[in-house]
Structure formats: structure tokens, C-alpha cells
Amino acid sequence: MAGARSPASLHDVELAALAAAGDRPAFGELVRRHGSAVRGLLRRMGAEPALADDIAQDAFLAAFERIVEFRGEGTFSAWVRKIAARLYVRRWRKESRFDPEAETADEGHGGEISAAARIDLDEALKTLSPAERMCVSLCYGAGVSHAEAAEALNAPLGTVKSHVKRGLDKLRLRLAPPEGANSEPTGSESHG
């Protein structure tokens, strides 16, 4: 019986079932397990750490309210990251920060790239424009499709696809091993 075991020994789905019955310590264990993933995603999407933490808290509270909707079809982490990403996108749109034509200041694909920057996703994401960073993080970090991202951002699907493609091209350069840095970048459609 799940109730006789400590929360730390339970699977996410069991913890979610307990949380759905009002067991707040069980939900606290889920927060402990997945808090970093949610906060990390929001930071990767471009949120300042304090704002990311605020939105992550809101996301977990929203997840607790809607915990009965989680049926274990995907992972709990992916589910709550999607909630957090949507909350952040809503805030981002309210502040009118989405400029489909915006480009990053760092447009140079060449130049010196440090070894650390090649393997650090967080650093590599900083070289993307806010729109590219948002679209790539939404599609690869929050697991939403291009169409869902376009709907969430209230932007044309084609615009989102081009942001993802350009973002991936830049990331490929930054994250590629030194010997692969000259490879020709190509587009991506797998998340559409």
C-alpha cells in the first residue's frame, strides 16, 4: 500500500495520486524532484532567476490544483514544465516582448567559441534572439509542437518554424564538438 511508504520511495504517478487526494507532503516530494527542471527551463527560456522561481512556484500551485488531470501518460516533469512554459509565455506576451522580426545582437556564426560554451546549453541559448530562444525552448524544453507554440505565442506557424530553425542552426554551431564546427547547418521539422 502506497500510504505506508515514505513519499521519497514512491513513483511520481503514486505521488500524484496521493496529491490528488489532498496529500500535500506527497506533492512536496514532487516539487523536490522536479523543481530544478522547471526552474531551469524557465531560465533557459530567458526568465531572470527571480522571475523564473516565481513562475515555477505558480506553475506547481497550478499543477496541484489540476493534479487530477495528470494520469501518468507522460512524465510528471514534462507535464509541469508545459504548465510553467505556458505561464511564462503568457507573461512574456503581456509584456509585449515577442517581436517576430527580432534578431540577436550576436549574429556572427563564426568567430571564436570557447570549449565551455560549446557544451553549455545555457550559454549557447544566450546567443539566440529572445524569439528564437523562446521558440526553441518551448519546442525542445517544454515539449510543445510548433503549432502549439505558435498558438501560445499568437504568432504565425511559419514564423515560429523559422525561429526554431535559425535557433537550431546557431545552437548546432555552439554545441558541436570542435571538429564538427564547420558542418553545414540544416533545418528541422520534427516538432511540427
Partner: protein, 127 residues
Amino acid sequence: MAELDFEMKLDRMFNEPPVLADGEAFARMVELRLDRGWNLRQVAIGATGLIAGLVGVTQVLGSPLLFEAGKATQRNAAALTDGVTGLVRAGENLSALPFGGEAMWLAAALGVMALAFAVTRAVEEFQ
């Protein structure tokens, strides 16, 4: 193929949560907000129940229901008293009557019927 590999690599990198030193403090903050929300909800439910109860009591006190119920109770008590008095009188007069045992049983049955009638009236009054 290289593109697919890169996207899989990117998925993996996004799925690797960063190590954040204040993870426990973050979890405690969420639990605190959950508890606060829960307490607020309980207070709200309690306050709503109290207000609803007060409104209900005010409505009942303001309506003529209690007054009518009191009057009906007085009427029924009087009817019951009359019935009992009649029975007592009948008992006192039993010895003076020139009847036998059958007459006594008949009188007792009539008394029961009177009592039943009083109860029926009482029920009708309350309905």
C-alpha cells in the same frame, strides 16, 4: 541523420535539470504557499458557512413559523390535558357505575380512542 542526432542531443540536454543549490528552499516555499492557500480556503469555507447559518437563523426567527408552532403546541397540550382529565374522571366514576367488567373495557377502549384522536389532531396541527 546528423540533424536527428543533434535534435535528440538537444532533447537530452533540455531534459537534464540544472543543479540548483536552493532546491530544498524552493520546495519549502511551494509547500508554504500550498498550506497558506489551504488555510485561506478553510477560513473562507468556515466564514461562508457561518454567514449562511446566521442568515438562516435570522430568516427563521423573522418568519411566523415559530409563533405558529408555539400556538399549535399550546392547543395540543390543552387537548391532551382535557383527554387525561376525562380519563381520570371516568376512572373515579367507575366504581359508582352500576355496570360490569364489559362496560369498563368499553370505557377503556373509548379512552384509547380519545387519546388516538388527540394525537391525530396534534399531528394534523403540526403538518
